[in-house]
Structures are given as structure tokens and as C-alpha cells.
Symmetry: C2
Subunit: 691 residues, 2 copies
């Protein structure tokens, strides 16, 4: 289907205003080296090619047929193709998926007919395939109006044909070369993962871009992602639905803070897929990974050079708020810069206008090399304003980048006036962008790829020590004690408690750890504070007794059936309150979340989310990524808290979630009190729902 | 200088690789209708024009001379110009500002010589003037390589010539028309404000863009800004230095949280200037204000239409995290949309591919009109992918936008392939952008302009009631009591306190409000908690007595000289702790800040900053803009706090700052305890430094 020798176009036509006209035209225009067989019962010649009335008349078995007939004629054509032994068809036609009274659709009938004949289908309702390596433009997309198809290392699988075509067209302005680009349409038979798998194996594809609306088989998708990672092929993805995911905020339980889009992102992070927001920027980033030396190297500082003081000042200003930073260059670097400019100007970003004697080719070469040689510089952005010699200066960039083996992101600020510069870069097969915002977003994506490469993918196979058999709790809502028993089974410290079934039990109380907390127990009361059955800060046994009596009275009143007594717990005092939660996402699998407890979860949405299980180091990174992390880390004279113990608890909770799988609908530990460094973290309250 | 009839070019040359060659060439190329007089002692003809050996030989007095001779020849040329009575010169040459042993510079000498002759100077070290209204390209900037200068309503004053040229070149790709664009260089004589003032008065200029490195006379600058606002001319500015401002974080006092860039932003907000980050986006936004109908109308929801499901989904996803929102359209709008597409697709963003029977011109017209007619839609983004009829569809946009009097931001996603679409839009004099990120950033800027128009500029002239004479505190560091007396003089509630000079005073204590707080008083101890001279939560008179004795002992030990006794205060309990501060910024003037107290200031930098004074309504908006605002507003079952009283306190503090001016170096009220709604806000601790 992707590299055919013979292509038949059923529904071919003369006019380029028709899908079937453009497909034949684009095959010819882009130099398809094989045989094109137009099929149309009303013509004997089309666009200078012999035309056949039916697929039965072509006298051979095409490697692939492209079908663009109206929906109502589709089934007949598929039957004809099946009857002559065709094994591969691309269905451009849409509107096949309306369901009839019997619950069947034309699309289903087409798929069944094809399957019976061993014929595989792409589409329907797709824009086809562009294989720029072999000059196969098997599509009606206007993107093929580009003068030439530039072959290269970027492969695309897209669930939106229009976006794919648009991005291919746009990115060809930037000299991006493509390997194979596939629009999968309705995925009635072959789907995104089939082509994702193809691109991983395809030696011409060096970076893979995916535009995803929904994933059919998530297990397979992420297994392929790991395979791509192992093969050293970066995978970037844009997925629709981020705006819908925002709606999930405000759920009652913290575990539910992780919506479906969050789950997608968490599983991508765990399996080596980098998530982008803009499809066009995704493709430019993939192209940089293909064409720039070491674009996925170890991330460090971003150096910059510009042809005016204004552009370099603006560079530093626009960097604010990004996950990027300027480099801390060595003294050697500073000294070398001072060879070209006065000491007061010898800082990064470098303004070439500040060179002694003015901007010079030799100065630019030397400064670029100096910066790229610095250990804390992982890449350079060259921000080029209009300048009489901009073409000359641009011409030196590809060679230096290749020699120093570090990327220079060339940023052409001057619009169409810089067309001669673009030409030079095209000829050197060197990428560029048009504005700083894109350069920065691309660098952030490259850094993500670089970090994933550095750290590798998590492959956890051994449970943390001290975890025995898989727990098997009762189903439904668990009481606090049951939920805490569950986390305790995974080695998470929980606040010690004494359970008393009724007032009679009070008489046996002795040697209580004080201050204490008393809580009523009932399976029917989820929000204990709101039900007024929690008493904190009890300083003496007599206070504890009277609190218990009080809570027993309220429980009898509010929930005479479900009440299961009271618990007396030691009041845990710590440095900070975290919450942690886990849930089984039905689409992606188990997730673990951690954040600062109380009101800040809701207001700041200060939460980190990961695919479970995770190890302690990853959990620590999640905690350190929280905005309020300084609260644990000794900010403003506070004690440093035991973040390592908190991370261990989060890791153990993630193992609980991973082991229980879909049985664990959700679990929340809130608060997890984090004590002083070396003193641990304690789960003080918990709730869980079991399938 | 800006609209000359006769221009002399001193240092003119034949070659376009020279500044003096390009200036003559660009004047001719862009159809300068007046007389061009090249001056070069080595030629009699240049670029087909008669050339003169000296300015003395031209036989007339040019309206302006442009001088591009080497620095060492500059003074002589200025003297010559002065001698023949020239009143206006543009100095392109740089490197005049090196200071000699006597503390003087060539630049100073040039300025003195010109001033003595009544000659005004632009530059030196500038790129000159482009007056597109009158075809005066008085510049050596490569930006003049554009085929034609498009006259229009956008005026620019820039302290970076290279950025100005680059942005003019780039923005001409988008059909932006310019009025007068001035590169001010070193501002040795005429400066940014002179040309800012010119553009405000200039009837051809409808929107003003400023690229600022530093402001010479801030009073004049903001007075001009208010004049521009009153004249209905939006002013947008990019200012260098945002990245440097970040370094100010981490000061010991909260008043210092407002750095110099923050002060610039605060004063811009108060005086009708909208601050942008990217110069190119600033100019596109200014152009939209000129060319799009009602682009500065009342901000509401952003509707969108796209030519594919992929592009509309991506539109909604990329909107996340912006200060923009989708509209809540009326039922009438929904019904009208359903005429064109199935009910399940009749939502915003609209996918024209979902139209019954496919995308149609009539459908697009109707849907655009329907959306623009909705009261909650202030603008529409049209995201255009590659599509066979994209040029036809684009052609309908200008007319609909003008008819409905609302802006449609046309976003062309397809790159150079969409060149025919650009041509149609150029011919219709209608703007467009190339990607969603730019469309969104521009809309955010337009909304700021719209909001400023709606609300008008603050013009506060009356102090809040209850403020008597201007306070006149002692200079230096104030004690807590002195600082609280200062804010109390402006009607801000402070915690009541009893002051005791020494142990002897303890005997007279009675009827204390409990629980109480005891604090030691010393001018030398700034951080009381760290000095261990604060005792809180004292529940009885005896606890208060022993706390006082304790603090007296520590004070005697730590600061025998400066100790001034202890204060006993009622411990104020409230719903939340804010801090508020004010400082006099030596560059911009008085500033007031408010934020949530304690550790959150430092970690979250959750601070709002305004130019003082402000009224209570503005102060309330500042408080509501804080991330943690829900803490005051009843989040998670909390009591609603008295935000109105807090706002009143902030406004009164801002009046204190405004009245005291540069005498108030800084003042901090931390915490300001905000009680339950209706119960007020109380300043519990304060510190101040007076000049």
C-alpha cells in the first residue's frame, strides 16, 4: 500500500476540481515511477493516460487501488476488487458510516467484504498516503501543490487528513523532508497503530509524528512507543481533547484530579512519547531531531547570538516563564568572547553589533564555536534581523553546527525579505524557524526528548520490599480503617488507632498517646468533618472520653444502621500535609497522583500525575515538581521535611494501584503528614472505592 | 524632518553595500516626490542624480540632512550644516559616544554645535525615518527592500533600529500599513517622547507602537500616554528588561517585590499603555486595531470556525491556559447553527466539514453572521487549513466583518501554499495571521485595549475620607508602633496595643483583651520573631505578665540601647492573612502591592501591583486577581472574608504612598488579617523606612 508499483484509481477524472482528478494528477506531478491505471467507465483516456471502464479490465493486479467513487457505489467496487484478487485499497470516500435500521452500516459491509477476500483497507474518509521517499503521492490533498516532495526522515500518522495536509504544506516551507505520511480516516480496518508500527520498522523514518483523536488499543500503542524508544526513534504526539479534560477539575476526590487527558500525558511520559500542543510545531521539532546534530542531547543552557542589541534583549525577555534558561558559561568562554567585544558586552546573549570593529564573519564563527564548546551550552539560537550580509552569515551556520555537533536554531525574524537566506539554508539542508516563540517551544520539546533519552524508560518489575500477597479488600466504599489497612499492607506508615465499638469499650482505655484525635466510623458517612464526627487536639484521657461519648451520640443519631464505633488516633504533627491518590483510568490504566493537601489542591491544582507503578526516585521528582515544593524543603527557615519518606509512600501506593489494576477504582490518602527529615511520613486518613 | 521636500544626504555613495548608497536608493525606489541632493566630494553624479562636493554647494536649504560620514568627520559636517542654516539632521553614524579624558564626547560636541544653531537632531546611531504616507524612506534599513511601502495607520517609535526594520519588513508580509516609523538611536537630542507626541497629534497615525529600552522622562511619557488614550489612539509597548526584573524576587520585604519592570507595567496599566512581549506580535495587534472593525470592543467569548474537525479541536485545546474563553452562545444562535449541521455538531468551534452536504460558501456566511450576531461573541477566529476553495472562502470574510462590525481573525495555517489567499486579503486590505498562537496573543492584547477603553483611566483627585494632614514621620527605620500609627492616620484599622516601658509598668495592667500577643519594641531589631521577642496566644493576665518579663529580659540582653519596652496587643483572629506594601520606585513613582501573606508570597509570587493611588474598586480587582483569591471567597466551606475592607485598606495605603511620594521608601503591613464578611480587616504588624 505504501510503496506500490502499480496503482489503480477507481473514480479517476480529468478535472483537478475533483478528488479523482487530483489523485491521478499528483501521482504524475510528483514523479510516481510505477504504473497509473485510471478507472472510469465514461472515458478511454484521462490526463494523457489510457483509462479503463472497470478494475476487471486492467489486465493485471494493482498493488493498491484508491477508490473515490460516491458512497453508494463503494460496495460494488470493493466486490469487484475482491473478485480480481486485490489485497490493498485506500478509501478516500466519506459518509459510509451511517448506521441502518439493522444496526449495520455500509462501512461494516465494506470491511466484511474486504476481509473475506484478504484485502486490507485504509480509511474510509481519509486523505490517503504521501510516500516522499518513493514519489508516491496517493492523495487528493492540496498539500501536493508544493513544487516538489522533499524526502526526509519525518513520518506522520494522522487521524485528521486536513491537518496533516496543511502541516505538510506549511512545513515544506521550512525544508522539512518527509518519509511516509498516512491519513487514517475512519480506521475501519487498518488503524493508527498499524502505521505507527510500520514507521518504527521503516529505515527511512527517523522521527515519528502522530496526530491522535482517540487510541483504539492503548496497550499496543504504548508497547509500540517503547519499541520506537528502544529503536532510537523519537515519537511526538498531539492529541485532541485537552480542553475537554479541563472539565474534570473539581471532582470530590483528589484521585479524580487526573482526567483522561492527564492519563494520556502520564502514559506518554512513562513510555517515551513527547506530547506537543501545536501540530505544526510538533513537525518542526521532529525535523530538528532529524536534521540538527545532537538535537536530543543532554539539555543544558540555551546560548544566543543576535544581530542587534534589541533582538538579544528581547530574546532574554521572552525566555522568562519558559522551562529554558541561559547558560552559566565558564571563565574560558568569557575570555574568548572578550577577544571579540568589550568585557561589559561579553555576556550571553551575544550582540554581534557590539563586536569591536562591527559584525564580522570571522567574529560570528569564533563566537558560535566558543559558545558551543562550553559544557553548559546545549544549543544556540541565532536570532537574525534584517542585515545586509544576512545570507553570508546564515551560510556559515550549518557547517559550524555539524562540526561542533550541537544544534544551532536559526531564527529568521525578517519575513519574506529573508527569502535568500531561506534558499541558502534549504540548499544546505538546514532547518530554521521564523520567530522566537516557536524556537523556544521546539527547544522545550527537544529537551523533553533529551531528558527521556538520558533517563531511559522505567521498567519496574519488582515490588517494594515488605509487600506480601495481593490484598483482596471487600468491594464498594471502604471505611477509613479498611482503606488504611490497604495502604499499610504496602508498607506505608499509618497513624496508630484504637477502635471502640460502643461506650462500654471506653472503660478499658489506658495509656493513650496524646494529643489524640477521635473519629466516628461509618461506611455511609464519607465526609466525616462535615458530619461533625471528628474531634482533634484532645489533650487528656478525660477529653478523649467525652469526645468519644459525643461522637457515639451523633453517630446513633445520624446513622444508627451503619455506625461501626469510633477510632482513637494519635494526632500526628508534621511539617507539611500532602495528599496522594491513585485511580484506575479505564482508558489508560493505573495512575498515581501527589500534591499539597487541603485547599491548595483545588485552588492551585498543584498536582503531579504519573502512570503507576513508579519507583521512589520518580516519586521524589514528582514531589519536587510541585509549585509548593519549597514548603518541604526548608523555605523561610522551616524545618526540612522528610520528602524521601513521602516519595517512598507515593511509590508504594503506585504499586498498590498497579497490582490491583481495575479492582481499585480509586484511593485517597489525605493527609499524608510529612514529618521532619528522617522522621517519616504518615497516612492519617484514607478512603477507597473497590470494584 | 518627517515630511521634508528637500533632502540632502551627506556621505552619499553609488554602491548599495554602503549606508549612504542605500539611503539615496531607497528614497528613489519608494518614490520620494521631493528633491534628493547627494553630497560626496569625490563624485559629480550618483545613482543618476547630480552630486555636490559640500552642503554649502547645493544652492538651497534642505529641510533635512541625513549624515552617514565616519564619526571623525561628523563634527565638521554639523558645523557646515549649521553655517548654512539647516534646522534638522538625521545622524545615522554610530560610535560618537566615546567619552574623552575631559569627560566630553564627540556626541556632546555635536549636540552643542547643533543647539547653538537651532538645529534639531535625530540619532546618532539610528536607522532614520520611514514615512510611508509621504513616500519618505529616509533610512538605510534593508526593510526598504520591500517592493512597496504600504501606507496605513500604524506608527512606530523604536530605540532599536534593527528590530524596527525587521518588524516592518516582516509585517509588510501581512499587509500592515505604516504611517511614520522613527528609529531614535542614541537620543542625543530628540528622544522617544518627542516622536511619541508627534504621532499622537498626527492624523494619519491611528495606533502607536513603541519599542523601549529606557524612558528618559517618565512624567512626560505617561502624560503623553493619557493624551493618546484621550485621543482614542491605542498605544502598545515592548520594553526591554523583563528578564532582569526577575532578579528582584527574593528581597526581604514584600514592598520590594515590585521591581522596576513591574513598576513600568503598573504605570502602563494606569495610563492606558498595553504591554506586549514580542515586537512583531505588537505590530500585528496594532494593525488589527487599525484595520479590523471594533477590534477594541467590549471583550467577550471567542468563537471559531475551521475547515476541518482537526483544526477546530486543536483550536479549543490551544485556548487552554489563555485569558480567553469560548462564548456561551444563546439558544437562538444554537438553533441557527442547527440549520447548517446536525445538532450534535452545532457547537463552537464550528467545523465547516460537518455541514450537511459539505462545506459551502452560503453556509460559512450564515454561520459567521450567526456567531457574530451573538451577544457573547466579541470576535471570531477563522482557522483555515488547505482546502480547494480556500481563496473563495477567504474572500467573503472582509465583507462580513465590516457588515457585522466585529473582527474576524483570519488564521492561515497552510504556509506559502496559501499565497493566493494572502493576495485576496491584501487586495481587500484585510489582516491575517499564520498560526493560532499569534491569533490568541493578539486577541489577549486587543482585550486589554478593550478593557481599558471600557473602564477609562483612573483620575483620582480626592483622598479617602478621614485622612487629615499629611503625616510627617521621623526618617529612617520606624518601629512597629510608628509604622502602624502611619497607616492608622489613613484610616486603616490596626490592632489595639498597650505599651509598657519596663517591668514597673506591669503592675498597672488590667482588663486585657485575651488572647493576647506580646512583642518587644526596638528600632534595631527588624525581624522580631527571629530575635525571639514575640509571644502569641497568651490566654491569661498571668501568661501575659510572664511573657512580658521574658521579653524584657531578652531585650536587655540583645539591645540594651535601642529597647523601647514591649507592646501588648489583642491577638486578631481572621479568615485569611494578606500582606500589603507600598514603595516609591525612583524611576516610576509610588507603587502599592497586595498578596497572600506568609510563605505563599515567596513561593508563588502571588502578588498584584499597581501605580498608587488606586480606589477601592481597583484594589478589590487586584485582590480578586490573586491565585489564592478563593481563600477569601468561601472556598471549600470556609467563611467568606471581608475582602471589601481589605480592598479599602489597600486603597488607603496607596493614598499614603501617593501623598508621601519619595519620602516613603517602603512600608509593609504584614499580616493584614481579614476577618469574616462585615467584620473588617486589621493591620497587625507593620514596618516602614522613611527617607
Amino acid at each position: 500500500m505504501i510503496s506500490p508499483n502499480i496503482v489503480a484509481v477507481i473514480g479517476a477524472s480529468e478535472g483537478l476540481d475533483k478528488f479523482g482528478g487530483r489523485i491521478v494528477h499528483y501521482l504524475k506531478k510528483h514523479g510516481f515511477p510505477g504504473k497509473i491505471l485510471p478507472i472510469n467507465s465514461k472515458a478511454t483516456e484521462l490526463q494523457g493516460l489510457p483509462c479503463y471502464p472497470s478494475i476487471k479490465d486492467v489486465g493485471c493486479i494493482p498493488d493498491v487501488v484508491v477508490i473515490v467513487v460516491p458512497a453508494k457505489a463503494m460496495l460494488e467496487q470493493i466486490e469487484l476488487c475482491a473478485s480480481v484478487g486485490i489485497k490493498s485499497a485506500v478509501l478516500i470516500t466519506g459518509m459510509l458510516d451511517e448506521v441502518d435500521a439493522g444496526g449495520d452500516s455500509l462501512q461494516n459491509k465494506v470491511v466484511r467484504t474486504a476481509a473475506a477476500a484478504g484485502m486490507r483497507l485504509l480509511g474510509p474518509n481519509c486523505l490517503g498516503i504521501v510516500n516522499a521517499i518513493d514519489n508516491v503521492a496517493l492523495t487528493s490533498s492540496l498539500a501536493m501543490e508544493v513544487p516538489t516532495l522533499r524526502p526526509g526522515g519525518v513520518g506522520i500518522v494522522s487521524q485528521s487528513g486536513a491537518l496533516m495536509g496543511t502541516m505538510m504544506a506549511r512545513c515544506s516551507d521550512y525544508g522539512v523532508g518527509f518519509s511516509r505520511c498516512i491519513s487514517v480516516g475512519n480506521q475501519a480496518d487498518l488503524e493508527l497503530c498499524d502505521f505507527f508500527e510500520y514507521l518504527i520498522a521503516d529505515e527511512k523514518t527517523q522521527a515519528i509524528c502522530l496526530y491522535i483523536e482517540g487510541i483504539k488499543d492503548r496497550g499496543r500503542f504504548f508497547e509500540l512507543a517503547r519499541r520506537a524508544f528502544a529503536a532510537g526513534k523519537p515519537v511526538l504526539a498531539v492529541k485532541a481533547g485537552r480542553s475537554v479534560a479541563g472539565a474534570a477539575i473539581g471532582q470530590s476526590h483528589t484521585g479524580s484530579l487526573a482526567g483522561s487527558y492527564d492519563a494520556f500525558e502520564a502514559y506518554c511520559a512513562a513510555n517515551g512519547v513527547v506530547v506537543a500542543q501545536d501540530p505544526y510545531v510538533m513537525i518542526l521539532a521532529a525535523d530538528m531531531l532529524v536534521r540538527l546534530p545532537n538535537a536530543a542531547g543532554k539539555p543544558a543552557g540555551i546560548a544566543a547570538i543576535g544581530s542587534s542589541g534589541g533582538s538579544t534583549a528581547n530574546f532574554a525577555d521572552q525566555l522568562v516563564g519558559r522551562s529554558l534558561r541561559l547558560p552559566n558559561v565558564s571563565d574560558v568562554t568569557k575570555q574568548k568572547l572578550e577577544e571579540w567585544m568589550p568585557a561589559e558586552d561579553a555576556h550571553i546573549p551575544v550582540d554581534t553589533g557590539a563586536f569591536r570593529g562591527g559584525t564580522s564573519r570571522q567574529g560570528i564563527i569564533s563566537v558560535l564555536e566558543t559558545m558551543l564548546d562550553d559544557d553548559d551550552v546545549s544549543s544556540v539560537v541565532y536570532a537574525m534581523t534584517t542585515s545586509p550580509r544576512m545570507t553570508d552569515y546564515a551560510a556559515i551556520v550549518p557547517e559550524i553546527s555539524r562540526r561542533t555537533k550541537k544544534p544551532i536554531l536559526f531564527t529568521l525574524l525578517a519575513g519574506s525579505m529573508a527569502q535568500p537566506v531561506r534558499k541558502v539554508l534549504h540548499e544546505a539542508n538546514y532547518p530554521f524557524v521564523d520567530n522566537l516563540a516557536d524556537a523556544f517551544t521546539i527547544l522545550e520539546l527537544l529537551h523533553e526528548v533529551g531528558n527521556q533519552k538520558l533517563e531511559g524508560l522505567r521498567a519496574l518489575t519488582t515490588r517494594p520490599p515488605g509487600v506480601s500477597a495481593l490484598p483482596d479488600p471487600r468491594s464498594g466504599q471502604l471505611t477509613e480503617s479498611e482503606a488504611k489497612a490497604l495502604v499499610a499492607a504496602y508498607g506505608i506508615s499509618t497513624a496508630g488507632e484504637v477502635r471502640i465499638a460502643n461506650e462500654a469499650g471506653l472503660s478499658g482505655l489506658k495509656q493513650l498517646a496524646l494529643p489524640a484525635v477521635v473519629k466516628g466510623v461509618s461506611r455511609n458517612i464519607l465526609h466525616k468533618s462535615e458530619a461533625n464526627i471528628v474531634r482533634v487536639g484532645l489533650e487528656s484521657e478525660s477529653e478523649v472520653r467525652s469526645a468519644c461519648e459525643d461522637v457515639f451520640r451523633i453517630l446513633r443519631d445520624k446513622d444508627p444502621e451503619g455506625a461501626e464505633g469510633v477510632t482513637i488516633q494519635e494526632m500526628v504533627i508534621g511539617e507539611a500535609e500532602l495528599f496522594m491518590g491513585a485511580r484506575f483510568d479505564p482508558e489508560y490504566g493505573p495512575l498515581v497522583t501527589v500534591g499539597f493537601g487541603g485547599i491548595f489542591v483545588e485552588i492551585l491544582r498543584d498536582v503531579a500525575i504519573a502512570a503507576a507503578p513508579i519507583d521512589t526516585a520518580t516519586a521524589k521528582k514528582m514531589i519536587m515538581s510541585l509549585k509548593l515544593w519549597p514548603l518541604l524543603n526548608g523555605a523561610r527557615g522551616r524545618n526540612v521535611a522528610d520528602a524521601d519518606s513521602a516519595a517512598q509512600a507515593v511509590s508504594r501506593l503506585s504499586w498498590l494501584a498497579a497490582d490491583m489494576g481495575s479492582k481499585l477504582i480509586e484511593i485517597d490518602v489525605n493527609p499524608l503528614i510529612v514529618k521532619k527529615q528522617g522522621e517519616g511520613a504518615v497516612a492519617v486518613d484514607a478512603a477507597a472505592v473497590i470494584a
